[in-house]
């Protein structure tokens, strides 16, 4: 069911005082993330927060806050239990995700999973966007028109992907050391701790500073980009943020399949509560990490 381009409503003026065009049309909403993807992100960041908090306590086991908190939860046993538990949860989420990619890409032969505008795989446009974006930062050119996933979002995705593989493998190697020692040399167990803690530190610092700011705290989305929680974004947000995807959607006549209802107030409130809690915990951990890192 193709939709005429001109049917899209003119963006509603933000300023109340501005002369309103008689009864502005209700904004339309489009689905960006499916419920499954939102759940996956939820599981991902919840387990990551716990892994980060417990991991940091082990990494900086000499710091006062780590020792105090450990005492509060009755010692290391509890901390290690939650670290391992969340590791399993995250591993499961990772497997579910990979399984879905494989099923959709290899078995159902779904187009666009491994290549093309909707793929997470980087392409030439991402390189151009990166340089174009930087030119725009410096006022040397127009803002690039992004597709479904912008280059920094793809970087986030692959950073987490690679991070999970690296941290996961090194973590399991330590967890089941005698087993892994059957096919790994002994020094690999030494390396596992170095890699695990350094990569974990990178993930923590990256997510709690770069990802938070890029996705949530920068002026365009401040204080939080709700789309990962509600799954929906208004047509105007869609058009401004990812003009190329919008254009393609309209050109392919797929608007109707992605159109959805406005997020329910409870969903917005719930998302805010969850999102802000996560951001608050993350920022607290960031401060603790930096202070412990500097103190070391």
């Amino acid at each position: 069911m193709p939709e005429p381009t001109q049917a899209t409503p003119a963006p509603a003026p933000e300023i109340v005082a501005a002369p309103a065009v008689a009864a502005p049309e209700k904004p339309r909403y489009f689905l960006r993330f499916t419920l499954g993807q939102r759940y996956l992100h939820g599981v991902l960041f919840t387990s990551f927060l716990v892994l980060a908090a417990t991991g940091l306590m082990m990494r900086f086991s000499g710091s006062i806050w780590a020792i105090r908190f450990a005492k509060l939860v009755d010692g290391f046993g509890t901390i290690l239990f939650f670290h391992k538990f969340c590791a399993l949860v995250l591993t499961l989420a990772f497997i579910i995700h990979v399984r879905e990619i494989v099923a959709r890409g290899l078995f159902k032969r779904e187009k666009g999973i491994f290549w093309g505008p909707t793929s997470m795989v980087a392409n030439w446009k991402d390189v151009k966007d990166l340089f174009g974006h930087m030119r725009w930062f410096l006022g040397l050119g127009p803002k690039p028109k992004f597709e479904r996933y912008a280059y920094w979002e793809k970087f986030d995705y692959w950073a987490v992907f690679w991070g999970m593989v690296v941290i996961g493998f090194s973590g399991y190697a330590m967890w089941f050391a005698p087993f892994f020692a059957r096919f790994l040399p002994g020094w690999a167990l030494n390396a596992a701790l170095v890699i695990h803690s350094e990569e974990g530190l990178l993930a923590i610092l990256f997510i709690f500073s770069i990802h938070f700011v890029n996705t949530h705290l920068r002026p365009d989305s401040f204080p939080m980009d709700m789309v990962i929680f509600t799954g929906r974004e208004s047509e105007e947000e869609f058009k401004t943020r990812r003009p190329d995807e919008y254009k393609r959607m309209v050109a392919e006549g797929k608007s109707a399949t992605r159109i959805t209802d406005a997020p329910q107030p409870w969903l917005i409130n719930f998302s805010r509560a969850v999102g802000f809690t996560a951001i608050l915990i993350g920022l607290t951990l960031l401060v603790l990490t930096l202070s412990a890192y500097i103190a070391e």
Partner: protein
């Protein structure tokens, strides 16, 4: 029969003769008629009463009063009889105590000069009631000794006044104090087991049983087996060779507050003690999971120094008897890590990723990870800051011009 009675007569006559020259004062008949009143006091209000029953039950009960109170021959006696000299009989003890820290303190510590008058009774109690040290009522019966010494050494005011360490409280809560005080074990170490009794010397005196190099022998007088192991180890050998820096028992176990070595408290407190000498090993140990687990509490059974190196018989890695000798590693690591194999034990519990010479592979892995971390963060930090500035400028511009941000 006749000869016997004549012998009796002679004896009586000679006894009479003796009485005529130096009349012995029989406690019951002579002195106790006055001093038997236990409430009796002299002009200064000092008790001069003697409990007849206790005196007769005491180890000195068979003596005459003026065996000790030598200047009293008759009644009335002088108002201020001379002080009793215990050393008349107890010469060995008296000479021992004369060289002890207690005697020294009486002359060198201001305010402690009055101590000498109580040199014997201070510990042995009322002179008329002293019983043998094997009697449970004795102040120097093993179970009573801590309380006796604690009379001074457990008194915070006294400790403060004479700058004494307040060791009584530490001892009472220690494993020795528990065994002695709570379980009534006569063999448990009391104060005198380590310090001696009459000739107590400062721990700085090379003659003292508590002088550094004498400590293994002192503790070893009870802990014979442990001392044998210790003497075989590098620490024991170093001490025997005259080292004053090698650890002796008390360096790890402390002195008075010795706790059960298998307790979580001791497991936690002792690793930093080893680390106070073995600094490089301690810092690399702290980088590992073994340390992290323990530090955060609740998991004290993770490997502490002596779990791998042994506590008393510490041997060099090159020694085939050392548990950390290559040949023994599988057994040593396997005590905790079931399934430890030859590859597993190549793990280095003291690896130093910061040392390129010792651990090159680890060093370069860490370097790579650090470079990755630094470059990713630097690039994105810059990227984000520029983005923030640009977005904000754009926002302000569009607001002022009334247009939407594009």
């Amino acid at each position: 029969m006749k000869t016997l009675s004549s012998f009796g007569l002679t004896l009586f006559a000679s006894a009479l003769l003796f009485v005529a020259t130096a009349r012995p004062l029989h406690a019951d008949t002579d002195c106790l008629s006055c001093h038997g009143d236990t409430t009796m006091q002299d002009a200064n209000g000092k008790s001069v009463g003697v409990d007849a029953n206790k005196f007769h039950g005491s180890i000195h009960g068979g003596l005459k009063c003026n065996d000790c109170h030598k200047d009293i021959h008759d009644y009335p006696h002088p108002d201020h009889p001379a002080a009793v000299q215990c050393e008349t009989c107890h010469a060995d003890e008296a000479s021992a105590i004369a060289g002890s820290i207690h005697a020294k303190a009486s002359t060198s510590v201001p305010g402690a000069t009055g101590w000498k008058a109580h040199a014997c009774t201070g510990c042995h109690g009322n002179a008329h009631e002293i019983v043998t040290k094997t009697d449970p009522n004795s102040t120097v019966y093993p179970l009573n000794i801590p309380k006796t010494c604690g009379g001074c050494h457990g008194d915070p005011a006294m400790a403060k006044k004479f700058h004494l360490p307040n060791v009584y409280a530490l001892y009472i809560d220690s494993i020795h104090g528990f065994a002695l005080g709570k379980e009534g074990l006569l063999v448990a170490a009391n104060c005198t087991s380590c310090h001696g009794s009459h000739k107590i010397l400062s721990h700085t005196d090379p003659q003292s049983s508590t002088y550094r190099t004498n400590i293994p022998g002192t503790c070893g007088s009870c802990h014979v087996g442990i001392n044998e192991q210790y003497q075989k180890g590098v620490h024991g050998k170093a001490v025997a060779a005259g080292s004053t820096s090698a650890p002796v028992c008390t360096d790890c176990h402390t002195t008075h507050g010795i706790v059960e070595p298998t307790s979580a408290e001791f497991r936690m407190q002792s690793t930093p003690i080893c680390g106070s000498c073995h600094r490089d090993k301690f810092s690399t140990y702290r980088d590992t999971f073994h340390s992290q687990l323990g530090l955060l509490g609740g998991y004290t059974e993770t490997a502490r120094c002596w779990d791998c190196h042994k506590a008393h018989e510490v041997l060099p890695t090159s020694d085939p008897n050392s548990p950390v000798n290559k040949a023994n590693l599988i057994a040593t690591c396997g005590r905790c890590h079931a399934g430890a194999n030859a590859s597993f034990v190549q793990y280095q519990p003291h690896a130093n990723a910061r040392n390129r010479r010792l651990n090159p592979a680890l060093y370069y892995i860490r370097l790579f990870m650090n470079l990755l971390l630094a470059s990713v963060l630097t690039f994105f930090m810059l990227h984000t800051v520029l983005w923030l500035v640009r977005s904000r400028l754009q926002q302000v511009k569009s607001k002022s011009s009334g247009e939407k941000n594009a």
